[in-house]
């Protein structure tokens, strides 16, 4: 009879890895992708595996842990958000990551996107402009064992030329324009993704592709399969 109360007392302090919630989140992201984009949309299996493996609840403030596996952006302090898991998956998928890739991320934020990228590419370089976030993300990534992520505090506008050029660049905050130095640090055939829209809005993605002859083509990837010009209400 004593065991039950002890268990009840002990339960809240046991470490929770949220594996079931994470698996549910992955399913939700898959469903979301087919409804929001196209019914045939399938993310790269490695991207989904990364989503299933990275513990998002370790990247959000304590007061947001309960919502960590909801498919939505969350505030992380310092006027920043951790992106919606679907957007993180979509951004990672859009750069078509391969295990040999070297990727530059502008805007480390909580470090979640870097952790996802680190699971599917060789190395991630990540720059954060806000000191408190940069420090926290760097410590967090180190603590969680992401050894193939290198972070630094700084201005992402000029990229990280010493480590470039990059197979892909992921920019996690849209500015008034796309920095020309970043385009310069992209390899021919490389891809850059930038989310467009307010931090809490459903974002759309801008995919910038550098052609083998250094030309630039951008594609706006609508986050929502919403056809406004046909049919009546």
């Amino acid at each position: 009879m004593l065991v039950l109360p002890l268990l009840l007392v002990a339960a809240p302090v046991l470490p929770q890895d949220h594996a079931a919630e994470r698996a549910a989140m992955v399913e939700e992201v898959k469903r979301y992708a087919t409804r929001a984009r196209d019914k045939d949309t399938k993310f790269d299996g490695r991207v989904l595996d990364a989503l299933d493996a990275v513990e998002r609840h370790r990247f959000v403030p304590a007061n947001q842990v309960a919502f960590a596996y909801e498919n939505r952006p969350l505030p992380i302090g310092h006027s920043q958000t951790i992106s919606q898991p679907y957007i993180v998956a979509l951004m990672t998928d859009l750069i078509r990551p391969t295990p040999d890739d070297v990727v530059l991320e502008i805007g480390t934020g909580s470090g979640y996107q870097a952790a996802i990228l680190a699971s599917v590419v060789e190395h991630v370089y990540s720059i954060e402009i806000i000191e408190a976030l940069a420090d926290a993300a760097s410590a967090r990534l180190r603590r969680l064992g992401y050894t193939n992520v290198t972070t630094r505090l700084g201005d992402g506008y000029y990229g990280w030329q010493e480590q470039g050029p990059y197979d892909a660049i992921v920019v996690t905050a849209a500015a008034s324009h796309v920095p020309p130095p970043l385009i310069a640090q992209l390899k021919p055939g490389g891809r850059m993704v930038i989310p467009v829209g307010g931090r809490f809005a459903t974002q759309q993605l801008l995919l910038i592709e550098k052609t083998p002859d250094d030309g630039i083509v951008t594609r706006q990837i609508a986050a929502v399969r919403f056809v406004p010009l046909t049919g009546r209400h």
């Binding site: 020309p180 307010g198 986050a223 209400h233």
Partner: protein, 801 residues
């Protein structure tokens, strides 16, 4: 009685001042569209206090001075306390899509800010209740105080920061309390409280805590970013920020193909958002090569040494754009003189003495007024991009009036162009396109209104990944010009969305979107089935007009079911939440108003309102609705004339209150029967309001160019006769109710207050749907209907209930 009049004047002055100040404060820490919520909750305070007084009438009558002094003291303290508490509520309008708790936070803000209004209104209500023989004069001082309060706060905001203005108003309210205290010990306590407010509060408690997601808050997180200066005025709080380590580099719509990087810049935030920049110019403007590679440079590819009018000059970026492209003359118009002083005086050296250039003339003026009085002949009228992308994308602006982008406004701009001149407007591009299509629809309408029957030959639109620039020429675009603009776009990897003769293949080459929506939309808007297209489009893209100046209102009820069904898949982000937040505030106002005004009365008097009953109730309910409909519609309408919503609120609110007050005093002396007096007043209201619906646009047009003080005087003169008559029906009804059934008086206040609370937020919704004239006509119908329900005189009393 003098003490009562003086205290009433002071409390009333502080109350209306607080109402207007709160609009400023909420515009700064949140966004402008919460402003109308303030009017609604001020009225809630008045309604609920009426109920509270009715329920504690005996105690109050016995302790008149003490009750007044206590209420005024609590008003003073709570206006500061609620400001501090309100800022602690973690409300984030942008998060509403995902987080329904935000609606609870919104309700919490509503309740917190209701408290000071409750106590302010209690003072006035107590005076009315206990000194009812002087009610006309109390009403007069109450309304004069209100008028003075509006002017006081506008003046104070020029010299004081908003939190210090708050302390000024708290002092005024406490002074009213001290005047009425009548006991030394009470006066001593009040003085100590006041000292505590003025010098005892930690400075950071009164600091403005902006939403973390406003541009200024985000910028201040950047390494080494610091605010250099803050300037306050009723037109906005300007914050100048430098960021030496991570430069701003603000260049909306900059080409991917550019070789140039923007120069060092200082950011200027208005109310913590709407970032504008002052660019460093070291002598030669020609060094700013990036200015040749933005979408907004398009019109310059077609013009040579143009005479340019820049509307919304902000920090001077578009003036630089004009100079870079060799403009012969630039008239730079900016509403906020402090902004002009930043570029022209304070940071003149940084800006390379830009405004000293002999080609540039700077005007501190509202755009519409300037254009109306201008002689025109411009080769280019350029409207800059002054709102931020994040705000444009979130839809929080949905209910802001904007008289810059109405059919009438664009017609005026087009009318001021030289032969072959160009109107150019750059907007952030949101996909699927909304405001950019609405702009095209508005320009096309304006052209047709101006007698142009071939707009399809005069229009061109290009887009980058995040901006679109529309040009409308006063004349047909020639083949050579079309070739030049296509070449301009191609060289910079901009897509052409429309030009005369465009083919589908031209519309989606560099910045590829799933469908060339903007192109298809503009072609449809220029075609024979434009009306069908606008009707069927999922967003509201009917052109904005001066009667319905809601350019940013893109919400359609018809699309809501589909958007909500797609809600969790991302479509919720496409809903204009500003509109739905307003709907929520109407519902909230109705529920809270009922709970705090009517329910306590019902509880205390189970038989319900007796004697004058339903008849009187209907009368006061209709008056409450109608008065606020007219007042809110006029606030919206006079925003065009007075250039800024806050000026409009202050002038219209105080004008209506003062002249309605005079009406009430005068009506007390009328010798005619109250029923007849009320009927005559309504005839006056209907006649004047109908006349105004017809002549106000012409009056505004004629006097638009006058200086602000003259326009304010003109506005008050216009409001005076209408408000005078609007002040009559309520006190006459109240007098009749008092004669017939004194116990009904609190009900009259309560019901009228409840209707006003509802009306204040409902009026904005109705204005969006029906426009100014529609709301005023509806109010007139309500006034006419009200006359049929005048509280019954004694002889018909028995038949009423």
């Amino acid at each position: 009685m003098r003490r009562v009049f003086a205290a009433t004047l002071m409390v009333s002055c502080a109350a209306i001042g607080y109402e207007i100040l709160l609009m400023r404060l909420l515009s700064i820490v949140q966004w402008h569209h919460f402003a109308y919520m303030i009017i609604s909750l001020a009225l809630l305070g008045y309604g609920a206090s009426g109920t509270a007084i009715a329920l504690s009438r005996h105690w109050i009558v016995e302790h008149f001075e003490l009750a007044f002094a206590l209420s005024a003291s609590l008003f003073s303290v709570s206006m500061v306390a609620s400001f501090i508490a309100g800022q602690l509520v973690p409300f984030n309008a942008l998060e509403i899509v995902w987080n329904p708790r935000q609606f609870l936070y919104l309700a919490a803000i509503y309740l917190i800010f209701f408290v000071p209004f409750f106590f302010a209104a209690s003072c006035i209500g107590i005076a009315f209740t206990c000194r009812c023989n002087h009610s006309n004069r109390i009403y007069f001082f109450d309304l004069c105080g209100a008028g003075a309060g509006a002017m006081l706060v506008l003046g104070a905001l020029f010299v004081l920061m908003p939190p210090h203005t708050l302390l000024l108003l708290a002092t005024l309210a406490m002074a009213g309390a001290i005047v009425m205290s009548g006991r030394r010990w009470l006066a001593a306590i009040q003085s100590i409280l006041l000292l505590g407010l003025l010098i005892g509060l930690p400075a950071d408690w009164l600091g403005l805590r902006l939403s973390a997601y406003k541009g200024l808050s985000e910028t201040m997180q950047i390494i080494d970013a610091r605010a250099l200066n803050v300037y306050s005025s009723p037109l906005g709080l300007l914050t100048v920020v430098e960021s030496p380590t991570v430069p701003f580099r603000h260049a909306p719509g900059l080409s991917f193909a550019t070789r140039f990087v923007p120069p060092e810049q200082l950011a200027v935030f208005t109310d913590g958002d709407a970032m504008s920049v002052i660019s460093r110019v070291d002598g030669d403007v020609a060094q700013l090569g990036y200015l040749g590679d933005v979408t907004a440079a398009l019109p310059y590819s077609l013009l040579s040494s143009p005479r340019v009018l820049v509307l919304g000059a902000g920090g001077g970026s578009d003036v630089l754009l004009a100079l870079f492209h060799g403009a012969a003359q630039v008239d730079a118009v900016e509403l906020n003189p402090q902004m002009n002083a930043l570029v022209g005086v304070e940071y003149a050296d940084f800006a390379g003495r830009l405004y000293d250039d002999p080609r540039i003339s700077v005007f501190s003026h509202e755009a519409r007024g300037f254009v109306a009085q201008s002689e025109g002949g411009y080769d280019l009228i350029h409207i800059g991009l002054l709102d931020s992308f994040a705000v444009a994308g979130s839809g929080v602006q949905g209910l802001n009036e904007s008289y810059l982008y109405t059919v009438e406004a664009l017609s005026e701009y087009l009318g001021k162009l030289s032969d072959g001149g160009i109107l150019s407007i750059t907007r952030w591009l949101r996909l699927p396109p909304r405001d950019s299509l609405k702009l095209a629809a508005t320009v096309i309408d304006a052209m047709r209104t101006s007698g142009v029957n071939d707009p399809e030959q005069r229009l061109a639109v290009i887009r980058s990944w995040n901006t679109s620039t529309l040009i409308a020429k006063n004349g047909r675009l020639s083949d050579a010009e079309i070739a030049r603009l296509v070449q301009f776009a191609d060289a910079r990897s901009f897509d052409t969305a429309y030009f005369p003769g465009i083919q589908l293949d031209d519309a989606n080459r560099f910045n590829i979107i799933p469908d060339p929506w903007l192109h298809e939309g503009i072609v449809a808007l220029l075609g024979a089935n434009a009306e069908d297209f606008k009707r069927d489009y999922r967003f509201y893209i009917e052109p904005a007009t001066d009667s319905r100046p809601y350019f940013f209102h893109l919400f359609k009820w018809g699309s809501l079911p589909q958007l909500m069904s797609l809600g969790r898949q991302g479509a919720a982000g496409l809903v204009d939440w500003g509109y739905l937040v307003l709907v929520a505030t109407v519902v909230q106002a109705a529920i809270i108003g009922f709970l705090m005004i009517l329910l306590p009365l019902l509880k205390s008097n189970r038989r319900g309102p007796s004697l004058t009953g339903r008849r009187g109730g209907t009368y006061f309910f209709l008056l409450g609705l109608a008065f606020l409909f007219v007042e809110m519609a006029f606030i919206q309408k006079f925003t065009l004339f007075l250039s800024h919503p806050l000026y409009s609120v202050a002038v219209v609110l105080s004008g209506f209150l003062v002249f309605a007050g005079i009406g009430s005093v005068v009506s007390g002396r009328w010798r005619t029967a109250a029923t007849e007096g009320s009927r005559r007043a309504v005839i006056g209201i209907v006649s004047i309001a109908l006349l105004y619906i017809l002549i106000l646009p012409l009056v505004f047009q004629f006097f638009m160019g006058w200086p602000d003080p003259a326009k304010i005087a003109m506005s008050l003169a216009l409001i005076a006769p209408l408000a005078f008559f609007m002040g009559v029906p309520f006190p006459l009804g109240l007098q009749a109710a008092r004669d017939v059934a004194p116990e009904f008086v609190p009900w009259a206040w309560g019901i009228n207050g409840f209707a006003s609370v509802l009306s204040a937020s409902l009026a904005t919704l109705l204005a969006v749907e029906l426009g100014f004239s529609g709301v005023v006509l509806l109010a007139l119908l309500l006034y006419v209907a009200a006359t049929r329900f005048f509280p019954a005189p004694a002889r018909s009393r028995s038949g009423v209930d």
